[in-house]
């Protein structure tokens, strides 16, 4: 602690704080994965980590992102990645694809979007 002399008008002395090592500026940042989490309906709590260029979503045995519900078509929708962003596209499903409650044919996904396929609701958590 710096010593304060009695009666001095200089209440604060310069203590010459030193920063030992300066943090480097620009560095490549690790990527955070894009995620889809089932937030309502069958499979609630399941998280899918999205890394591939293409996912097929549905209840069929051969899809890459399986949703276990009779209200979901065997092949319900596709997820494709381009320029680091995922786009969902309805694959002629029976019940359609809802984006935040709006029936869409396709949509580029954004953080916090809710997708509904049948009675399965998935939240999109956008990575980097």
């Amino acid at each position: 602690m710096p010593r304060r002399s009695p009666g001095s008008t200089q209440d604060f002395e310069d203590v010459h704080t030193r920063v030992a090592t300066r943090v480097r500026g620009l560095r490549p940042r690790p990527e955070r994965p894009h995620l889809l989490e089932v937030v309502d309906g069958p499979g609630k709590g399941t998280r899918f980590r999205l890394e591939a260029a293409l996912y097929e979503m549905g209840r069929g045995a051969n899809v890459s992102l399986q949703l276990d519900s009779d209200e979901v078509s065997r092949l319900h929708a596709r997820l494709t990645r381009a320029d680091g962003e995922y786009t969902v596209e309805d694959a002629h499903s029976r019940n359609g694809v809802l984006l935040n409650g709006l029936r869409v044919h396709a949509a580029v996904l954004r953080d916090g979007d809710e997708l509904q396929l049948g009675d399965v609701v998935l939240k999109y958590l956008e990575g980097t």
């Binding site: 596209e89 869409v104 580029v108 954004r110 916090g112």
Partner: protein, 296 residues
């Protein structure tokens, strides 16, 4: 895709000026541009900065020659600025038809005029594509497999709205239209804002029973009093237009550049509440958002 399918994709939904950044990431910051696919016919409404992204998409998704039927609501910057950056315009295999009212090639001239070399390094005459001016015959024109009808709107300098008809379906593109100046009782909308705002029959006709109305809805009610005469309506007035005309779906667009994603959510939510409160339960309302495609 069946030959009778009609798709709409939003490439630019912002009004006035591009607004990139985290506040506008979800709805998007590109200015006005909407793609309509009628079977194999590609129609584009407005050439704001969203047009550049459509060009990139076309470049990646097709090797076939591109034919574009381009309709401009009017030639203010936010409706033409994407054109010099539209990749297919540089390809000799591309054909672009630029539509304007009968006997008036002003849109074509102003689109090309922005490429004089004081503004842009490439001249319009140096573009590789065949770019041709086309006129409406009266108020209608056949554009590929679709029919497009035009109607005049209320905007400083004038603007045009368009109704696309294809395979029994209809989409209306109506931006930069200050409906509030055309209300039967303008004062009542200020004094009793919760009441239905009545519009003249001739304004309802172009949007009557449309499957989708894409409409300028730039201002919330409490913003409009300071912006009277700027050429844009209150979102709630657009709701009343759609409701009175029996529109099925309403896309609110031409978002104000000052509005963040959250503020647009509020405008849309208030519009939905208004429709329910006035008894128009079947009218579906949403905020137009870049990257969203609808099947009509």
């Amino acid at each position: 895709m069946s030959s009778e399918d009609l798709f709409v994709r939003f490439w630019g939904v912002r009004g006035s000026i591009p607004t990139p950044g985290p506040r506008t990431r979800r709805y998007g910051g590109n200015t006005s541009c909407v793609e309509v696919r009628a079977g194999k016919t590609l129609l584009v409404f407005d050439a704001g900065t969203g047009l550049r992204e459509l060009g990139v998409h076309l470049g990646r998704s097709t090797d076939s020659p591109v034919t574009v039927h381009l309709f401009l609501s009017h030639p203010h910057w936010d409706h033409i600025q994407g054109f010099p950056f539209f990749g297919p315009a540089y390809e000799s295999s591309t054909t672009i038809y630029v539509y304007g009212p009968r006997g008036d090639d002003k849109h074509y001239q102003l689109l090309s005029g922005q490429m004089s070399n004081a503004y842009f390094p490439v001249r319009f005459s140096e573009l590789g594509a065949r770019i041709l001016a086309r006129s409406f015959k009266g108020t209608s024109v056949d554009a590929g497999d679709a029919t497009v009808h035009l109607f005049e709107q209320k905007h400083p300098g004038g603007s045009l709205g368009f109704r696309v008809e294809y395979a029994g379906k209809s989409v209306v593109f109506s931006t930069d239209n200050e409906l509030d100046q055309l209300l039967l009782d303008k004062q009542a909308a200020f004094e009793s804002p919760d009441e239905l705002r009545k519009l003249p029959k001739e304004l309802l006709k172009p949007v009557q029973d449309a499957d989708l109305l894409i409409a300028d809805a730039q201002y919330a009610d409490d913003e409009y009093a300071q912006r009277v005469g700027w050429g844009h309506p209150r979102a709630n007035t657009v709701v009343d237009l759609a409701a009175q005309a029996g529109v099925r779906r309403l896309a609110l667009t031409h978002h104000d550049p000052m509005h963040s994603d959250r503020e647009i959510d509020v405008v849309v939510s208030e519009a939905e509440l208004r429709a329910r409160r006035l008894g128009f339960e079947d009218l579906e309302i949403f905020g137009a958002r870049e990257g969203v495609t609808l099947k009509i």
